[in-house]
């Protein structure tokens, strides 16, 4: 979950910039329908048992810990999606409302913090890249 939380903002930025190139990583069903099992194995697909290759899909600019599984798998885990929704409410100071009046659990807080830090880094990287392209 923590890996998916780190990578989701980067994947979202990558999909915004290059939707066609990242489609397989943004939609596991599409990937399963269009790729062979052997190709998925070389991409480090998390749905496969047995040996898989080095995980693919590391977005440009991401310098966090190594991926242990394909970015599409980790970022689509239910708890990563849950934390992404919770973060939307947290940004508005309404996390307790999202939690139905309860305090957020330590796990949820940690994942939101991680996601938030990486979201800032991903946007910052995108802006730098845009400036570079503008200057050239």
């Amino acid at each position: 979950v923590i890996e998916g939380a780190r990578l989701l903002p980067w994947l979202q930025e990558a999909v915004r910039r290059e939707p066609a190139a990242y489609r397989h990583f943004a939609d596991c069903n599409h990937c399963k329908e269009t790729m062979t099992v052997e190709n998925r194995r070389t991409l480090g697909c998390g749905f496969l048992t047995g040996p898989v290759g080095a995980p693919a899909g590391k977005p440009e600019g991401y310098d966090g810990p190594q991926l242990t599984v394909c970015i599409g798998y980790s970022t689509s885990l239910p708890e990563v999606i849950e934390a992404s929704r919770a973060r939307w409410w947290a940004e508005k100071g309404q996390l307790t409302v999202w939690c139905d009046g309860d305090l957020p659990t330590p796990g949820l807080r940690l994942v939101i913090e991680e996601m938030d830090g990486q979201a800032n880094a991903a946007v910052s990287h995108s802006m730098k890249e845009s400036r570079k392209q503008g200057a050239s």
């Binding site: 979950v1 923590i2 890996e3 998916g4 939380a5 998390g46 749905f47 048992t49 047995g50 242990t68 599984v69 798998y73 980790s74 885990l77 239910p78 708890e79 849950e82 934390a83 919770a86 939690c99 309860d102 305090l103 957020p104 659990t105 330590p106 796990g107 949820l108 940690l110 994942v111």
Partner: protein, 166 residues
């Protein structure tokens, strides 16, 4: 197909690895290399089912329904109470797993304890001072499904310390 979305905040369902509705390979005696590989593949399939919250025909026998344990992630107070009890030496590792299970469990669907529907009974747990499943009931659960309390207690503690998996 059973959907049991895991959650960092809300009550979630999980299936015990020893449930007879699951397609866990069974071996007698020391497993061969091939059997070890088969077992590792099975464990990966169960991990995927738990991570995605989808228990399909890859993991569940056709026509069978596993028992579903409804657990809540431990909040800060419960987590700290368990960790403090361990650090202070009041409880050992195994008791800490039982404690985590008792504090986390919210319900059980389809367990064979004689009652049509399982009703959770709680009591004030003396070490933490928090409400938890009664000792009597946790003993009943462990007798009906030997090993489930330790396995799911560890599952809950793992998820509390650092969110699990990828």
């Amino acid at each position: 197909l059973i959907h049991l979305n895991p959650s960092l905040q809300n009550t979630f369902g999980v299936v015990w690895s020893g449930d007879e509705a699951l397609k866990r390979p069974l071996f007698f005696g020391d497993p061969t290399e091939e059997q070890k590989r088969e077992l590792a593949e099975w464990e990966k399939r169960l991990d995927i089912a738990r991570e995605r919250g989808v228990y399909d025909g890859d993991v569940v026998h056709a026509g069978m329904s596993p028992t579903i344990f409804r657990m809540a992630p431990l909040g800060r107070t419960a987590r700290d109470a368990v960790l403090d009890a361990v650090r202070s030496g009041k409880v050992g590792f195994n008791t800490s797993l039982t404690l985590a299970f008792r504090l986390s469990i919210r319900g059980i669907d389809g367990i064979g304890l004689g009652a049509e529907s399982f009703k959770l009974a709680v009591e004030k747990e003396p070490i933490t001072g928090l409400l938890a499943m009664t000792r009597e009931q946790v003993d009943q659960v462990d007798a009906a499904a030997p090993g489930v309390v330790a396995e799911l207690g560890l599952y809950v503690l793992d998820r509390t310390a650092v969110p699990p998996g990828k």
